[in-house]
Structures are given as structure tokens and as C-alpha cells.
Amino acid sequence: MRPVLLSAFTMTSCLGPGLAPVRRALREGASGLAPCRFESVELETFVGEIAGVDETRLPAGLARFDCRNNRAAELGLAQDGFAAAVASAAKRVGRERIGVFIGTSTAGILQTELAYRRRGADDGSLPADFDYRRTHNTFSAAEYVRERLGLAGPCAAISTACSSSAKAFASASRLMEAGLIDAAVVGGVDTLCLTTLYGFNSLQLLSREPCRPYDAHRDGISIGEAAAFFLLERAGGDADSIALLGAGESCDAYHMSAPHPEGLGARRAMEAALGAARLQTGDIDYVNLHGTGTPSNDASEDQAVHGLFGDSIPVNSTKGMTGHTLGAAGAVEAVVSVLAIEEGRVPGSPGTRTLDPQLRARYEIAGAPRDVRRVLSNSFGFGGSNCSLVFGRLRHAA
């Protein structure tokens, strides 16, 4: 594929609003995880909750979209001059030539969970103020972003569980290459809700402490929430500009909620991403793992990563900083990957203490300055949906 320019990006998570706290966390190895106090949830686990979501207000004209998930989107879009960068691109190429592709797993399902507590006593109906389309529906976050940014091009929610927002990059790139659009806003918005907290609890996949990817004693994930956005453009930029160099996707065709034990699907996604970028494994300087911190996910991904890269390339997971932001994880970790290149630094892996001796890839717990030219980032989801992305400066494209 032709490299796609990342001309603006931003991310809001439990680390804080915008890129500045992410840069700080990458340098200092900080974590935003804290004991779960979300809503009425009674689970002994840690979460990565965005501060200030509940206080965020949507613009008056978009009040029908009001729900926690779209408030997170609004808070995210307001950071780092992102909305202004999109407006400027819309002036250049036309608002109907900019697509919107947003990854999410649960969109505003919390709104429905809350509405089910307020059903009519007589007929069980949902309250009149409940707006299914603009809050609960999977498309709601994508539609909100499109309307908020005043765009008029193609638009879709990508919802493949935890690979959603990584795959949004691939979808947008294809339609840009086919000439349907000149630019795209891609990203992920996923926020805390009872379905995912109690759902992952039912699978016994929630860690009782901040998650510890690759640790010998890892015991599950910490759920996080985030809104992360990129503006992709076909043209422009200089040799130093950072671009998406390749994207690769695959399916496990194995099980609904467990990864392939040997990581075959994961490996095929990575190979496809390298192939699309016309790069070899030796061209990659850092792999940002999916690295959720469950015993089986990390073991499966290690088989795939070690099988492909051996132990020559630093790898780790940054989910100890942000938690697992599910449908937003691909976009969040795209931000981490790009900042690793910009800052010349492999980030650290807070939470991880003692590496699992069974895992063989070169996992680095502590962050360190390094010449990071190209990064491969993994995102894998339920249903065996895998996506790998390769980022690098244009001058390091093949």
C-alpha cells in the first residue's frame, strides 16, 4: 500500500486529556489505572477511567447524542487542535471528501444499561428521553464525530471488538487509495460500561490489580476507556512526517473468545502488515504488543511475535499505562507508536515486575531512549479478529 500521512492526532485516556500526559507517561512509565469506582460496579478490579467525562457537555445542536461515550469523544476531539486541523483539511479537499471510520466495541451501551433501570412499571417501556440511535447504536460515536466535525463523506463504525480501531486505519486507507476520499478521520472511542466489566468478569479475565502484561503472575486485564483520533491524508508532508506504512489483517477461525494457542492468526496479521509496507522484520525497531495481561493472550501473542521476530527486537505492552481500552486500543496504541518514533524512545511497561520465563520475545519492562524508525503495533479481538499496523517516517518507507 501507499504510505498514508498522519497529519494530526490526539488521544484522551486515564492518563489525561491530549498528548502531553501521554508523552510524560512514556518518559516516566506512569500508569493511570486505579481501583474501580465506576458507577455502581462492585468488582474487585482496576480501571483506567478518563477524568472529566461526566462534566463534558456536547454542543447544543448535538444534545441528542448526549451519553458518556459521546462525551468522551467530545473531550477527545477538543484536544491538541485536532478539530481545527480537520476543519483546515476540509477547506483544502472538501468536507464530502473526508471519511470517518471510528472503532468501538460498545459505543454508548451504558445509556441502555441505565435506561433498563428506568423501565415503565406498566409496560416495561424504556424512558422517553432514551435516544437509541444516537447513544446506544454501534454507529453513534462515528455519527457524532462526523456531525461534530461537519464532515459529509463516507462514514462507518468498525466493530470487531478489540481490533476495531486498528482496522479503521485499514478501511480508511483502502478507500483513500481507491480514490473515493482524499482524507479520513479515524480513531476509536470506547468507554466504561457494565456489559464489558461484568462480561470480562464472567470470563474470569479481570485482574485484581493493575494489569501486568508478560508477568509470570499476570492474572488478567484492566479495562480502560479512551478517545483517540487521527487525521489521515493521501498527500503532503515531508520526509520527516510520520505515516501509516502498512496494515495487515487476519482471522483466527478458531474460537469466539480464546486466541489461537500458537498465535497463527496473529502471525499472519503481522506478516501481512510487513508485506503491505514492503518491509522485513529487521526493519522494525519496536513492537507494541496487544499484550492484554491474560495468561493465554500473552502466551499466544508471544508465540507469534517470537516466531516472527525472534528475540532481537524490543517489544512490550503499554496497557499497564492506559488499561485495555478495547475498541479504542488500536488507535490508542497507534498514538503510543507514533510518539515512540517522535520521542526516540521505547516506552516502559508499568505494572510488569517479573517476566514470565515461558515467554521468549525480548520484552522490555523499563523504557529507554532508542532510535525508533518504525513500529509495528498489534490489536487482536474476540471472534479471532487480528490487525497489525506499521508506522514510520516517510523517509523510512520502503
Binding site: 473515493l180 464472567s202 492468526g265
Partner: protein, 264 residues
């Protein structure tokens, strides 16, 4: 613009539309359309464990997808897949929301993994063994158009890999049905291949349109088109059923319809 594909095969499951070959005459206007409740075939392609767990959307998408692959004379194992749906498994979601609103919030693991929008894609992979890339998209009423663009985008990016587009919707139970009424289950599947690698089936190219969407002459079919997002495909299916070249405008996003040119 480079969004073109050959439609090598079609699958259809809907009210009064048992399968593509049986539905052709009614869609082409050569015979009457009689609506009757959708009958969703059993998911025989799944292993026993998954068959027990499969919800309505899994069964719908599997039936339509396999029908399209078979009529294209291809194995689904060798195809990529794009799933598009406005909703998900409504009965499963309703059960989850009821449990979460109760004093006992425990969910079953199966309920949870069936709740993801890409559950049909996951089950599809298990049933067909296809390890190729698969997408799951949602765009509310525009979901069929979104899936069409995605599938054509995949064909353009990797012309060697045929792609199945599977668009489906199923009704919610109450009380959600009142907020999002969908009259019955409907699924359509198109087996697509690059014109550079296939000369079978109608050649279809896509672009943005400026005109209002094409409607169905038959009132009942037009009712389906308007009320089920996946049935926004009906004008395209009607043109394909007639087997003649032409063009239709497919309802997509507000102010952004899609034009499909059908050649030979």
C-alpha cells in the same frame, strides 16, 4: 475512482424471500411478491458447541453467506468477508441489559462473547475455516452502503482475493423494538471478485450519487427496503434479478447516496 467488482453469486434470506433463486422473479417484477415471516435455516455448518450458542444474526449471516459462495462456485474458506449490520443480536443484548439492571448482575461467558458486533464474523470463521481478513461494520440505516464500500475497497486493494459481503439485520425484542423497530430478519450476501480476475456475473461499479434513492415498485418490497437497513440492497438486487444493464441509486448516508452501475 476504482470501485468495481463482479457479483459472482448472491444469497438472500428474508420475509417471503427464502433464497435468491426463489426470489428472483418477484424481485424482477416477473411474478408476485408474497410476504411471510422469515425462515432462518439451521446453522449446520457449525460444530455442535457453536451451533447451540449461535444466535439469530449468526444463523442469518451464515445462511446468506454460504448461499452466495455456493452460487459463485467458490469455497467460503478462500474468501475474505465483510459483515455489515445496523444492530447485533437483540435477544442477547436484551438479556444482558435485564441482568445488569437486576440485583444479580452475573452474565454467562457465552452471552458476553455473543454480544460483540463481530460475533457473526467469529462464528463464520469457525464454520468456514476462512482465515482471511473479515470486517464488521455498522452505520445505522446506512449499514448496507457502508458494507458495500468496504467490500469494494477490499477488492480494489487486493484484487486476487474474492470477498463476501454479508449484510443482515434482525428485530429487537421489546422494549428495544419500540425504539428501533425492524419488522423481520433479513440478510443479503454478495460474492464479489475483481474484474481483473473474474469474468463471471454482473460487473458493478460504485460512486457517489446526487439523486434520491431508487425505490421498489412493489409496495411490500418497498416497505422492507425502507424499514430494514440490509434491505436497502433491494433495488440493486431487483436490477440484478432482471439481468439487464442499468443503474440504481442505493440509499446510504443522508445526503450521500451511492450509485451502482450494473454492466454485463
Amino acid at each position: 475512482m476504482n470501485l468495481a467488482a463482479r457479483i459472482e453469486g448472491i444469497g438472500l434470506v428474508g420475509p417471503g424471500l427464502a433464497d435468491w433463486s426463489g426470489a428472483r422473479d418477484a424481485l424482477a417484477g416477473r411474478g408476485p411478491f408474497t410476504s411471510s415471516p422469515t425462515v432462518i435455516p439451521a446453522p449446520d455448518a457449525l460444530p455442535a458447541t457453536e451451533r447451540r450458542r449461535a444466535g439469530k444474526c449468526v444463523r442469518l449471516s451464515l445462511a446468506a453467506g454460504l448461499q452466495a459462495a455456493a452460487s459463485a462456485g467458490r469455497s467460503a474458506r478462500d474468501m475474505g468477508a465483510v459483515f455489515a449490520s445496523s444492530t447485533g443480536d437483540g435477544e442477547n443484548l436484551h438479556a444482558i441489559c435485564e441482568a445488569l439492571a437486576s440485583d444479580d448482575r452475573l452474565l454467562s461467558p457465552t452471552r458476553f462473547h455473543n454480544s460483540v458486533h463481530n460475533a457473526p464474523s467469529g462464528y463464520w470463521g469457525i464454520a468456514t475455516g476462512s482465515a482471511h481478513a473479515a470486517d464488521s461494520l455498522a452505520a445505522f440505516d446506512a449499514s448496507f452502503g457502508a458494507g458495500l464500500l468496504e467490500a469494494f475497497g477490499r477488492i480494489a486493494a487486493d484484487p486476487r482475493l474474492p470477498v463476501l459481503l454479508i449484510a443482515y439485520d434482525a428485530p429487537y425484542p421489546e422494549p428495544l423494538n419500540a425504539t428501533r423497530p425492524i419488522p423481520d430478519s433479513f440478510a443479503v450476501a454478495l460474492a464479489l471478485a475483481s474484474p481483473a480476475h473474474s469474468d463471471r456475473g454482473a460487473l458493478v461499479s460504485l460512486e457517489g450519487a446526487r439523486e434520491p434513492p431508487t425505490t421498489m415498485d412493489d409496495e411490500a418490497l418497498e416497505g422492507l427496503r425502507r424499514n430494514i437497513p440490509a434491505a436497502r440492497s433491494l433495488p440493486l438486487l431487483a436490477l440484478l434479478a432482471r439481468g439487464t444493464p442499468g443503474r440504481v441509486v442505493i440509499e446510504y448516508l443522508d445526503g450521500f447516496p451511492l450509485e451502482a452501475q450494473v454492466g454485463t
